[in-house]
């Protein structure tokens, strides 16, 4: 695990060095993006959303990114993208670092640390200027880790009046993400995916499928006041419930991600929709079934849009196989409870305005109205989130 993280940093450093070497052929192209983003919750005593926890306006979601790209030869270039996020104390992080080989006119091969093409907006998820919302719908854009180390082949082609693309990649990743204050080491092995788009004029459709062996190491995460998940799994094994201990921990488990999406842009009318299923099997994580549909209309330099999004997760069954008559039957409600805690049943209605200002900057306002249904108690909770952002690319 540690080795791979070091490898990624080494790769990024090497690429940065390459970009700094003066050479007759090397010409460094810089581009970047800035997103100033803030928001607030209507009721801060209820659940937080989009990482906003206060009922006062705070600009905690600012992001700055800089990309340097250099041609090493006719068909080979090196690219590095560095991002600083307010959420992470503006620590500079190389997000992507890769070499691109233009194999043919229509085929690009990239090798390095690359963005995973999960979603329609994966390529430019941080680049707010490219889309209508302050941020892509939280219900769908839910995966915390969006890069991998490996190889990616991208092919695009025009067939008659249709434009199509096909992208295939293979790789793995060692990283970590934050879950309620605890850093969870996360790694994938044999991650492979395929994404394809087909479009014509004002519409495009997309389908993607990914699979990997995924491990989220939660053994040190607290499951109760005095127990970690690791402790709890040991306890299950002590009672002879080895299978359930395995079903509890997300260790070397198969993960499948499916996406279907479309975009429509006639100039006047805009519509986007995505439907995803994230099926992480053999652990207590729920099967995520999420979607959103957005419709909007442009009037001059202003885009008015409405989005409906939802989560209809299905709970897993880590308690399966334990009989009611079993001495260890006391674990059934605990495991059921853990499984249900991972389920989101939520509806979100968002209203937004995007105003394109003269200087190549977009000003956005967004209101998200949430209705969350607690799966255990069936209690409905309502929350409102307001967000505002100023975004540009340069």
């Amino acid at each position: 695990m540690l080795t791979r993280t070091l490898k990624k940093r080494y790769l990024a450093t090497a690429l940065s060095a390459i970009c700094l070497i003066p050479s007759v052929q090397a010409e460094i192209n810089f581009s970047g993006f800035i997103s100033i983003e803030g928001g607030w919750l209507e009721d801060e005593s209820l659940f937080s959303y989009k990482d906003y926890e206060d009922s006062d306006l705070v600009f905690t979601q600012n992001t700055v990114g800089l990309q340097a790209s250099s041609d090493l030869s006719d068909n080979l270039s090196a690219t590095i993208q560095i991002i600083a996020r307010g959420q992470e104390g503006y620590t500079l992080k190389p997000e992507w670092a890769y070499l691109t080989w233009q194999a043919t006119d229509n085929t690009k091969v990239r090798i390095g640390s690359i963005g995973t093409p999960f979603y329609m907006f994966s390529d430019f998820q941080d680049i707010g200027y490219a889309y209508a919302w302050t941020r892509p719908p939280e219900e769908v854009y839910t995966l915390p880790i969006t890069t991998f180390d490996g190889v990616n082949v991208y092919h695009n082609r025009t067939i008659g009046s249709f434009d199509g693309s096909l992208e295939i990649y293979y790789g793995g990743l060692d990283d970590s993400f934050n879950l309620g204050g605890t850093e969870i080491p996360s790694s994938t092995r044999n991650q492979i995916g395929i994404a394809s788009t087909l479009g014509r004029d004002w519409w495009t459709i997309r389908a993607a499928f990914h699979t990997a062996t995924l491990t989220n190491d939660i053994s040190n995460l607290a499951v109760s006041e005095d127990q970690t998940f690791g402790d709890f799994a040991d306890q299950l094994r002590f009672f002879g419930l080895d299978k359930n201990a395995d079903l509890l921990l997300p260790q070397d488990d198969p993960a499948y991600f499916t996406e279907l999406g479309y975009t429509i842009d006639t100039g006047r009318f805009v519509s986007v929709g995505e439907y995803i299923i994230f099926d992480y099997q053999d652990n207590f994580f729920a099967k995520n079934i999420r979607y959103y549909v957005m419709g909007g209309v442009r009037v001059g330099n202003v885009l008015f849009h409405v989005t409906t999004a939802g989560s209809r997760d299905q709970e897993s069954t880590p308690q399966e196989g334990i009989l009611e008559t079993d001495p260890a039957a006391g674990f059934i409600p605990v495991l059921e409870g853990l499984a249900l805690s991972q389920v989101e049943k939520r509806d979100v209605l968002s209203l937004g305005i995007r105003w394109d200002l003269p200087a190549g900057t977009a000003l956005k306002f967004q209101l998200d109205q949430l209705r969350d249904t607690d799966d255990v108690t069936n209690i409905e909770l309502n929350q409102r989130v307001y967000s505002v952002s100023l975004q540009t690319v340069f």
């Binding site: 581009s31 993208q81 390529d123 430019f124 680049i127 200027y129 889309y131 695009n156 690319v393």
Partner: protein, 143 residues
Amino acid sequence: MKTLFKTIITISLLCIVTIAKADIAVIVHPSSTVSSLSNEEIKRIFLGKIQSFPNGKMAVPINQDVDSPVRQVFNKVVCKKSKSQYKAYWSKLLFTGKGTPPADVGDSIEVKQLVSQNPNFIGYVDASVVDNSVRVVFSIPSK
């Protein structure tokens, strides 16, 4: 503030009037075997969807500067995008290395000069600057 506002409106209207009177010509090198291109083909080249002319030769599109009124009309009529839509379109490709926007090279005179010197370039200019150092493959008529 009001005077400034009025001035801006007046200048904008003058710009619109000026564009409405001028044709815009899409030009290539005179040695090119391409005699004409359709709106769709030019749009595809400038949006990076195809990288070559119909005869198989590499096509390198070049833009006028961002604020050029000729560019605004070209983007609107041929690419069917406003200034911000055009920028948003390219920002989607730029950061993954899936495409690089055409370079911004200046005004109609500078575009004509570059196109006349390079057999792969394709650009758009105010029709009044066209001479036999370049070949016109498409015209955007005045309204």
